[in-house]
Amino acid sequence: MSQSDSAVRPTRKVETLDQVVIRFAGDSGDGMQLTGSQFTNTAALMGNDLATLPDFPAEIRAPAGTLAGVSGFQLRFSSYDIHTPGDAPDVLVAMNAAALKVNLGDLRAGGLLIVNTGGFGKKELDMAGYPKSPLEGDALRAYRVVAVDLNDLTKRALEGLGLSMKEALRCKNFFALGVCCWLFSRPLDPTETWIKSKFAKNEQMVEANLRVLRAGFNFADTTELFQTVYEVPPAAMPKGTYRNVMGNEALSMGFLAASELSGLEIFLGSYPITPASDILHTLAAYKNFGVTTFQAEDEIAAITSAIGASYAGKIGMTTTSGPGVALKTEALGLAVSLELPLVLVNVQRGGPSTGLPTKTEQADLFQAVLGRNGEAPIPVIAAASPSDCFYAAIEAVRLAIRYMTPVILLSDGYIANGSEPWLLPKVADLPKIEVRFAGQNGEPTPANFLPYLRDEKTLARPWAVPGTPGYEHRIGGIEKADKTGSISYDAENHERMCKLRQEKVNRIASDCPPPEFEGDEDADLVVLGWGSTHGAITGAVRQARAKGLSVARCHLRHVWPFPVGLGPILKRAKKVLIPEMNLGQLWRLVRSEYLVDAISLPKVQGRPFTSSEILEKIQSLS
């Protein structure tokens, strides 16, 4: 990456850091998500490792200036391998009083605080509930404060361009971004390129944003506000080509990959819901991949249309969040009974009920594993990080087809909207997914097709799709006779079928890789995690091990059934710690399965664990 010529090297003291955590915070209308993404993009291009954590209110634009309307974006970028968006920010950019109020508590002592004094008028202070301005007095003594009137500077940068005051002020986030680029020795050109393509249809906006961005950079360069400029050298990452990716994006691409690997087209039946909607949006754009996206009238139609599509020979899938899964429960039971492939993605958010729609949580595990009427076993897998969503999606499709079963894939708001650099795979290296439609492999047409005759190894039944002559058959949600699939109310048959369906799912436990394990085999403490706690646990365990503690970690991609290797790991440990963003759901499942007196570390705050929270607990147990 060559430095753009607008970015002349400053002559200040240069300090090299191995990592920085920065948080941009402002009003929902201030464009903080955009600022954060652009800064992230630039960090990625500079070869840093990184992780992000966007955080915004459920309302589209909560009233300007209120606490409820504050939107934030946290980014951690580094010159070494990291796993979380960081605990306490080193740098906080606060665009108004409310943003300061909401975020100040998180800033680490001695951290850098950049405030836009233009957002601290009487009205803003009132709305934030500040009786007097925190910028006066010593309320901020613990921090290095840089107070600038970004409103004013932005307006001035745009003078003569003929923008209204309102339009002009909307650019101020680029001023802040320019300042930060200067401060952390970032080039402007990735953002400039982005501005040019984003506003391609509006030359005035291109001009305005570019001006403000550069003005911010130059302002920082010129003024004496900053004594130091920082550098965060690239991280030593494995060789290969990278892109920055968010979880929902990676998940969507994973489905496209599964489609290519299986040779089947995708049918996505979905109903919009935060934080899952972006998967629908993303896939809707890839019609040339043969994707059908169907925005259904509700969640029930979404999943049942997907079941219909699977019946007809596509990969039926449905994406939603907790309340949507609740509505899909009955249809999931049907899918279990039909034994058709189906993938349900739950991008979990804070519950119960509507809960915290834009916040993250892992409290839908019970629902995924056990939340149905009757004996209705469904395998559950979980994605560990934004880029891991790609592989998790492929695995979900593989299991669904191989075992002729619905599969639940759990993601959550944190990894869905969070991002990280992704070492891109070669498509040719990804393993194919085998599909065998009955009657389409040149076999002789049976006199009497048996739709519930099972594969010996997987116990999967055949997939015979409408259109195949000689394979006409009837299926349904009433109990079926073994093999023939006819309606049966027979007592022994019912028990046999219940057990067969259970056994089929159980077999996945030995048809998946052993759980990820890191650390000494004989460590005293094993920290067990699933889903998006992966990064925080990894960070904490590495730090603990660096401190010499006897601790290892184990991570579940296949959450249910538990992979065969898990039992020995847990039984051999003296203590097992399970951090989860819920009140102890995996914890209860582990106890029931292995009778292991595991220790729960619950967190239900709508936000991810920090590594230090976990490290602290590890230390207290060592």
Binding site: G467, R474, G476
Partner: protein, 343 residues
């Protein structure tokens, strides 16, 4: 799959559409007659048997797919239209049918029905309306008449019934019709017309449940009164009915006036000429408002038939257009698109 009349079309008899399953309806149930008729109609469409997919919900009526030798899917209560949408979108070549009941289709499943109709998904939807919940042993349904005494309404039901034909017209269905279980020829013609229609075809079929709502349509079906009670809507023909077709209807303002042609033969010219292609549904609703007055005949036949692009074709066209424009998806290219960097 659209019906074909090509020389290569398979020739079937009704028997070819009978499955090997024992039929589990009550003796005397109106469903038997419908089954026999539908089996005959399917046999005559010239569509290969394996290209039929018949989807149902739950209810006595929804057992239907078991008794056809086609691909069949007995699903869960009320969701057949949504499932069928998935089937049709996944494989537009199939002839996809939905069989539902008044409870299945208009109580729990009313919303899905609304949406497939407005979308104009190319499905053939047969709703068996017996004005009762049969399978759960006789509770009132959304089409039961007000005051209906049933197991769940020992004091009589309070709600106004919903009229399936009005509902379908307002939803914008492109084919809306009504027939009767025991009017075999009429039913056969109506179902065949639905089968030939490209788009969402909705057929309400009055069906007698002789166990829990026996005789619900008797005033219409009784041999003695049939002629007086059935008003057949025929495209391009005046609205006439009764013995010797001596009664009819004319427009009067925005409502219908009944005319006794024996007394007023001069008014024959005023009779409303039935136009099934009237797009707004107004005419359909006008004709269908009649049954509310017990003195009036019951309109049967096709209330609306319009050609409109179907949802499934539209969805497919988008995929085709995207492919034509951008080429088939290239996964490798997609993954490596956007801002990437190489270490």
């Amino acid at each position: 799959m659209t019906p074909t009349t090509e020389a290569t079309a398979p020739t079937y008899t009704k028997k070819d559409f009978e499955s090997d399953q024992t039929i589990r309806w009550c003796p005397g149930c109106g469903d038997y007659a419908i089954l026999a008729t539908v089996q005959s109609v399917l046999a005559g469409l010239g569509i290969p048997r394996e290209e039929f997919a018949v989807v149902s919900g739950i209810g006595c009526s929804s057992r239907f797919p078991y008794y056809l030798s086609t691909y069949g899917f007995h699903s869960i209560h009320g969701r057949a239209p949504a499932i069928a949408t998935g089937v049709k979108l996944a494989n537009p070549k199939l002839s996809v049918w939905v069989v539902t009941g008044d409870g299945d289709g208009l109580s729990i499943g009313g919303n899905h029905l609304l949406h497939v109709l407005r979308r104009n998904v190319d499905l053939k939807i047969l709703m068996f309306n017996n004005r009762i919940y049969g399978l759960t042993k006789g509770q009132y349904s959304p089409t039961s008449e007000q005051g209906k005494v049933t197991k769940s309404t020992p004091y009589g039901s309070v709600d106004n019934p919903v009229d399936p034909v009005n509902f379908a017209l307002a939803a914008g269905a492109t084919f809306v019709a009504r027939s009767v279980d025991v009017f075999r020829q009429h039913l056969s013609d109506t179902v065949a017309a639905a089968a030939m229609h490209r788009g969402a075809a909705f057929v309400e079929i009055y069906q007698n449940c002789n166990i829990f709502n026996d005789g619900a349509f008797e005033s219409l079906t009784a041999k003695a009164t049939r002629e007086e009670k059935a008003l057949y809507l025929e495209h391009g023909q005046p609205l006439r009915y009764g013995p010797e077709k001596s009664m009819g209807f004319a427009l009067k303002g925005a409502s219908l006036e009944k005319i006794d042609l024996k007394q007023h033969p001069e008014r024959e010219k005023d009779l409303l000429i039935w136009d099934q292609e009237e797009p707004s549904g107004t005419l359909g609703m006008l004709a269908n408002h009649l049954p509310k007055d017990p003195a009036n005949p019951v309109p049967l036949g096709i209330f609306r038939r319009l050609e409109k692009p179907t949802f499934d074709a539209g969805m497919r066209a988008q995929i085709d257009a995207a492919r034509a424009k951008r080429g088939p998806g290239n996964l490798e290219k997609l993954l490596y698109s956007g801002t990437t960097w190489t270490v």
